[in-house]
């Protein structure tokens, strides 16, 4: 494994479309649930243990070589909101484009052929990590970090939150993120032996419900 390759993949400037998405933060800000750094931290902690854990486990499983088609179906089953399923596929397609150019690999080509309109983003992320020579723990960390860094940077734009405070939120979540990543990898290893039903199915109903409402807003800064 290469630590530098992990930095390339995890870099917020990796051109894979994430900058246009808030991970539910825009809807939560409008609803008055995120108002400052403390409430941002709570929102991110909630994501970490629900959507984050699921994404981390999917990414780790893909990095381990679990069949991406099965993982994509498992991701669908764990994403009740059609709006969020659409977003996950769109971001997956965008990540796949960037990854195929960055780390050319027959596995990524096969995924593009099988899912021309995009597979779920965490599945693509796991395969991209694999193509970059990274392992399941790296893939899980990337997915989990994205699940909280997206809302944090979006909140800086939405609330004019002090960017140092937002970054502090992420730093203080780091030990917890490491632990969730361990759980995600363990679940991915179990899924490799027992099938994808062993993957976690942590759900945040409010994220799903709010995503549906957000998708219908006529005026918004972020695509999701």
């Amino acid at each position: 494994m290469s630590r530098a390759a992990l930095l390339v993949l995890a870099d917020g400037r990796f051109p894979a479309g994430g900058h246009a998405h808030s991970g539910g933060a825009e809807a939560a800000v409008r609803a008055g649930r995120i108002t400052d750094a403390a409430t941002l931290a709570e929102f991110c902690r909630g994501r970490l243990h629900t959507a984050g854990l699921v994404a981390g486990a999917l990414a780790a499983a893909a990095a381990l070589g679990t069949d991406p088609g099965e993982l994509d179906a498992a991701a669908d089953a764990r994403t009740p909101s059609p709006a969020l399923r659409g977003v996950a596929r769109r971001l997956g397609r965008q990540l796949l484009r960037a990854a195929r150019t960055t780390w050319p690999s027959p596995e990524l080509d096969a995924l593009a052929a099988a899912f021309p309109k995009g597979a779920h983003q965490p599945v693509v992320l796991g395969l991209a990590a694999r193509a970059a020579g990274l392992g399941p723990a790296d893939a899980a960390h990337c997915a989990l970090y994205e699940s909280v860094s997206g809302p944090a940077t979006a909140t800086v734009r939405l609330l004019s939150l002090d960017p140092f405070d937002a970054t502090g939120v992420l730093a203080r979540l780091a030990p917890e993120l490491d632990r969730v990543a361990d759980a995600a990898v363990e679940a991915a290893r179990r899924a490799a032996a027992e099938g994808v039903d062993a993957l976690p199915a942590g759900s945040a109903p409010l994220l799903e419900v709010m995503a549906e409402a957000h998708a219908a807003w006529p005026v918004r800064l972020f695509a999701s």
Binding site: H19, A20, H21, S22, L95, R97, P104, S105, A113, P218
Partner: protein, 225 residues
């Protein structure tokens, strides 16, 4: 890993001049510039001028609404299936320069859905004087400023004014009302851009978008040659 395995999937490199089926893709021209300078109006005028002779489509990049796409739809400059809006997450320049993935998806989807296309116009959300398009997204770019934004903008330069393939100074009909000196704007633009072309236009005037349309035809000729 089998790194020597031949790549059989769809093309991964976006700037590739050919589509996965081997045909030549559409020429992509970007239009950028400050808010309110007349990008959407120029796109609408170009569509009206070129739609009889070319198969074309438009991608808009609004900052927080779908206003630009809706304006084009309302004006019916093209059938609705030929107009796509991209959402940019409060960062219009990122979507056209640093992370072009959503725009690439939009141009490719347009070609799949309504192609073959000769030309795709990619309109940026209104931004600042440093906003330029990535060469991975467009083949040529037009930067649109207007006389009412201040006649010192060409002198100030910046990547948009200095490097765009075509600089359009729009709303020349307003110059007398806002105290802008057109001759000075043209001279400053010439000094900043050397041989690169500049068009001074008023869409309300008799020639309208004709000069820009002629430039687009020229680029298209070079693209298909």
């Amino acid at each position: 890993m089998h790194l020597d395995h031949p790549h059989t999937g769809p093309a991964a490199v976006s700037a590739d001049a050919h589509r996965p089926d081997g045909t030549r893709r559409a020429l992509r021209i970007g239009l950028g510039g400050p808010v309110g300078s007349g990008k959407t109006a120029t796109v609408a005028a170009l569509c009206r001028a070129l739609r009889e002779e070319l198969s074309l489509a438009v991608v808009t990049n609004d900052i927080y609404t779908r206003e630009d796409a809706e304006f084009l739809l309302r004006e019916a400059v093209l059938p609705p299936e030929r107009i796509t809006a991209v959402e940019t997450g409060a960062c219009p320049h990122t979507a056209i320069r640093d992370d072009i993935s959503a725009n690439l998806e939009a141009v490719e989807d347009l070609e799949d859905a309504v192609g073959p296309l000769d030309l795709i116009l990619v309109e940026s959300g209104g931004d600042n004087l440093t906003a330029t398009f990535s060469k991975g997204l467009v083949d040529a770019q037009i930067f649109v400023i207007d006389v009412a934004g201040g006649d010192d903008i060409p002198r100030k330069g910046g990547p948009g004014v200095t490097t765009a393939d075509l600089l359009v100074v729009n709303k020349t009909d307003l110059a007398p009302y806002v105290g802008s000196d057109l001759a000075r704007m043209a001279a400053d633009a010439k000094a900043q851009r050397a041989e690169l072309p500049v068009v001074l236009q008023s869409l309300r005037g008799e020639t309208g978008v004709a000069d820009v349309a002629a430039w687009v035809r020229e680029r298209l000729g070079a693209w298909t040659a």
